[in-house]
Symmetry: C2
Subunit: 129 residues, 2 copies
C-alpha cells in the first residue's frame, strides 16, 4: 500500500475525518469519516469511500443513489489527521436532495436555520422510500 497513507493519523476508533469539496467551485459538499480501508479504496478506485459508524461498515458514496464522487485531489493537514478531498460530484452530495449537505445557514434574525439552495433530486424517488 501507498506508504503516504500509512503515515496518516487515525483516531482511537481507527477513523480519520474527510472534508469533501467541489473541485471547480470550492463548495464544501459533505463531511464523513474514513477508515484505513476506505482511504485505500478511495485512492485505488478514484471514487470516495467512507466508514459508517452507525452501520459499522465501509461504503461507496453513491452506491444506492448513483451519486458517486470522482476524486480529483487528496490533501492532508499539518497534523496528518484530517483529509481534504476535491471531487467531481455526480448528481448531488446530500441524501436530502441538495447539492451540498451544508444547505442550512445561520441567520441571527431568524429563529431557525435558513435553507439555502434548491433540491437537485427527490430523495423519495432516488432512494425508493
Amino acid at each position: 500500500m501507498d506508504s503516504k497513507l500509512d503515515n496518516l493519523k487515525y483516531d482511537s476508533n481507527g477513523l480519520i475525518p474527510a472534508i469533501i469539496q467541489d473541485h471547480q467551485t470550492g463548495q464544501v459538499l459533505m463531511f464523513a469519516f474514513m477508515n484505513r480501508q476506505a482511504v485505500k479504496k478511495t485512492v485505488e478506485t478514484g471514487k470516495t469511500h467512507f466508514y459508517s459508524r452507525s452501520r459499522n461498515k465501509q461504503w461507496l458514496k453513491g452506491e444506492s443513489s448513483g451519486h458517486v464522487q470522482h476524486v480529483k485531489s487528496i490533501r492532508t493537514d499539518c497534523d496528518k489527521d484530517v483529509l481534504l478531498v476535491n471531487v467531481e460530484q455526480v448528481g448531488a452530495a446530500c441524501h436530502d436532495g441538495y447539492y451540498s449537505c451544508f444547505y442550512r445557514k445561520h441567520d441571527a434574525t431568524s429563529p431557525d436555520w435558513a435553507i439555502e439552495g434548491v433540491k437537485v433530486f427527490d430523495p423519495d424517488v432516488v432512494y425508493k422510500k
Copy 2:
C-alpha cells in the same frame, strides 16, 4: 442563547467538528472541534473559538499569533452535527506558517506528501520558540 445553536448535535464528548473556509476563495483553511461554549463565543464575538482536546480548554484562534478569523457565515449540514464557517483570515491559519493547514497534497508518483504553497510567516518568530 440562540436556540438554533442548541439544536446542533454534539458528540459523546460534547464536541462538534468545524470546517473553516476562506470566504473569498473557498480554500479550506483548517479543521478543529468546538464545544457548546466555543460555538456560543464564535457567534457572539464574530471570531472563531475552538476546544482543544489535548489541552482540555477552549481557545480563541489567534490568541498567541494574532492570526484571528473574522466570521462571515456559519452553516451546518443535513444532520446538524458539523459546522462550516466562512472567515476572513488574518495572517495565516496554520501554525506551521502556511495560509492553509492543508498544504500537503497526495502525489501518486512521490514517496511522500508534496508540499504546496509558501510559508506566510516564520513560526519560530511568531510563537517565539
